[in-house]
């Protein structure tokens, strides 16, 4: 079997300005944050980002990487709004396709199946249609029904973070929800997977049943081992959301000076430096609480 192990920087180096990239997970859950942080370290810009968004979207938008956003929502879950995204949205500076959540998934399914669109009831009668001027409806050839024709979402690159993978790119989720990570991979030309741990193929079933084998290596271009690579979002059962850090992120994001300080403290170095800074942050919090 092929060995697709890569360094974080090598995987992200293949992302060029102007590309369409998909980011797996949901809200502030199992987001490929190590990939996102690595993207922040590059000079890539003008990206079209496809996401059921969380802090991935906030961070990329605030760093000026995003030209266009195709999304269902942007939320931090335990905190309803991401202040970085909200501020950019209220400045009116983003090109947007905001879909109903189900419409978004319908678009991914069309992209994965190499169709130009798929029909759905979701969106009819709502202002999602007038807000997205490219959207068209389609008449059923079998009845009088009319549906929203959700255009296929295709991506140059998809990024996902998972619990385990083998070196060939067979992917395992161990938490309660696979989200739509497999669909992102199937609707993308290339997919990079970051994982808590790369394990030998024969050990893939040690921690979960065969139902947890979410994605085959045939959809995967490269695999990067990034322990705590979803931090500060959830990666159940390996770790939950770092709520204390997320609160700090959201509070800092509301104020330009605080955001500069946050960036300098956490985002100026490499991935190892980020995790070291987070450890220092928690140690100082603990000291303050004693």
């Amino acid at each position: 079997m092929p060995d697709k192990r890569l360094e974080l920087s090598d995987a992200v180096a293949s992302i060029k300005s102007g590309m369409t990239i998909g980011i797996g997970g949901w809200g502030s859950r199992r987001k490929p944050m190590a990939f996102v942080r690595e993207l922040l370290r590059t000079d890539v810009k003008d990206l079209t980002v496809v996401s059921l968004g969380g802090p991935d979207v906030g961070l990329l938008v605030a760093a000026g990487k995003v030209k266009k956003l195709i999304y269902g929502f942007v939320t931090l879950d335990s905190i309803p709004l991401d202040p970085l995204f909200t501020a950019a949205r209220e400045r009116g500076e983003l090109e947007l396709q905001e879909y109903d959540e189900g419409m978004f998934v319908t678009g991914l399914r069309a992209g994965a199946a190499r169709l130009s669109f798929l029909p759905t009831l979701a969106g009819l009668g709502s202002d999602v249609l007038p807000a997205n001027k490219h959207l068209k409806t389609v008449k059923s050839p079998y009845s009088d029904d009319e549906y929203v024709a959700v255009p296929a979402i295709r991506m140059d690159v998809a990024l996902i973070h998972v619990n385990r993978a083998d070196a060939a790119g067979n992917v395992q989720f161990l938490g309660p929800d696979p989200y739509f990570d497999d669909l992102y991979a199937m609707a993308a030309d290339r997919t990079f997977v970051s994982t808590e741990k790369i394990v030998p193929t024969e050990n893939l079933l040690d921690e979960g049943s065969y139902h947890t084998l979410m994605l085959s290596r045939m959809y995967v271009t490269g695999v990067v081992e990034t322990p705590r690579g979803a931090h500060f979002t959830t990666c159940e059962p390996d770790y939950g959301r770092d709520e204390v850090f997320q609160k700090h992120y959201a509070a800092s994001a509301k104020d330009p000076a605080a955001w500069d300080a946050f960036t300098a403290e956490f985002l100026a170095g490499d991935e190892a430096a980020f995790h070291a800074a987070v450890e220092r942050f928690h140690a100082e919090k603990e000291k303050a609480n004693v």
Binding site: W26, Y71, G72, F73, V74, T75, P80, L81, F85, T86, R89, E90, R91, G92, E98, Y99, D100, E101, G102, M103, V105, T120, L121, A122, G123, L124, G125, S126, D127, V128, P130, A131, D144, D145, E146, P176, D177, P178, Y179, F180
Partner: protein
């Protein structure tokens, strides 16, 4: 009949009544009062409804209020997000959702305030509201009934109202009731919001004054009180920590 039920508890019982005809379907409830209402329905008149833990599981016994299945309860099924959209499409689901704005035809907005191109305030986005209202029954829970929420027209239609649904030919569209801290609202034959009942102790004029479109509450009956058994279940079994009072505060005596 009278007892010492609070407005929050009256609203819980009204939310519970939503499920009387539901049978076996997934009860999706956003907010504290609706979540307690769904649990109350399951423990009383509607044992067949299926509760969700808010994450990926269907629950035959509810998880502790506001907590996922990992904190307790009995899992009876697996419903990760992808299956939720499949369930929505089959119609085997009901939602009690919140709203930032609602107009006289029940069009709901949770997306933004102001213009689409440059909103004054970005809210949570349309989320699943368009798909929910196109596919199954949707009810709304409004913790603070106000003229800023009940408006002549909403800024972005997220949940589809009766006028829009008719024009779009939505066959599975079904708006149920709107439960607020003042009243229970429904819809007349033309799909316009009307008052079904006003909560005990609330002046009907208060309902009219706090609604941004014409709404006559003068001849409405009183909303039913929870029974003693319902009050016991709410207070002792479902919400012993009285989290419901965070959503609808208990008025403090003056002076």
């Amino acid at each position: 009949m009278s007892n010492d039920a609070t407005i929050a508890e009256i609203c819980v019982a009204a939310c519970s009544d939503i499920y009387r005809e539901s049978g076996e379907l997934l009860a999706h409830a956003v907010g504290i009062v609706p979540s307690i209402g769904a649990r109350l329905a399951k423990l009383t008149h509607s044992p067949d409804i299926i509760l969700s833990d808010g994450e990926a599981f269907m629950m035959s016994e509810a998880s502790p209020l506001g907590k996922p299945a990992s904190a307790g309860g009995v899992i009876e099924g697996w419903a990760p997000f992808r299956r939720i959209f499949d369930i929505v499409a089959t119609g085997r689901r009901q939602s009690i959702m919140g709203a930032s704005q609602i107009d006289q035809y029940g069009n709901q907005n949770i997306s933004l305030i102001g213009d689409w191109d440059k909103p004054k305030r970005q809210l949570i986005g349309v989320r699943g509201a368009p798909g929910n209202t196109a596919n199954h029954r949707v009810d709304y829970w409004i913790a603070r009934h106000s003229a800023r929420l009940f408006v002549p027209s909403v800024d972005m239609v997220s949940g589809v109202g009766n006028d829009r649904a008719k024009a779009a030919g939505l066959k599975h569209h079904h708006l149920g009731v709107i439960i607020t801290n003042l009243a229970v609202l429904g819809y007349d034959e033309d799909g316009r919001v009307k008052v079904l009942s006003v909560h005990p102790g609330v002046d009907p004029q208060e309902v009219t004054d706090n609604t941004g479109f014409p709404l006559d509450a003068s001849n409405a009956p009183e909303t039913r009180l929870p029974t003693d058994e319902e009050l016991r279940l709410i207070r002792e079994v479902i919400d012993p920590r009285a989290v419901r009072n965070r959503e609808v505060p208990v008025p403090q005596p003056v002076g």
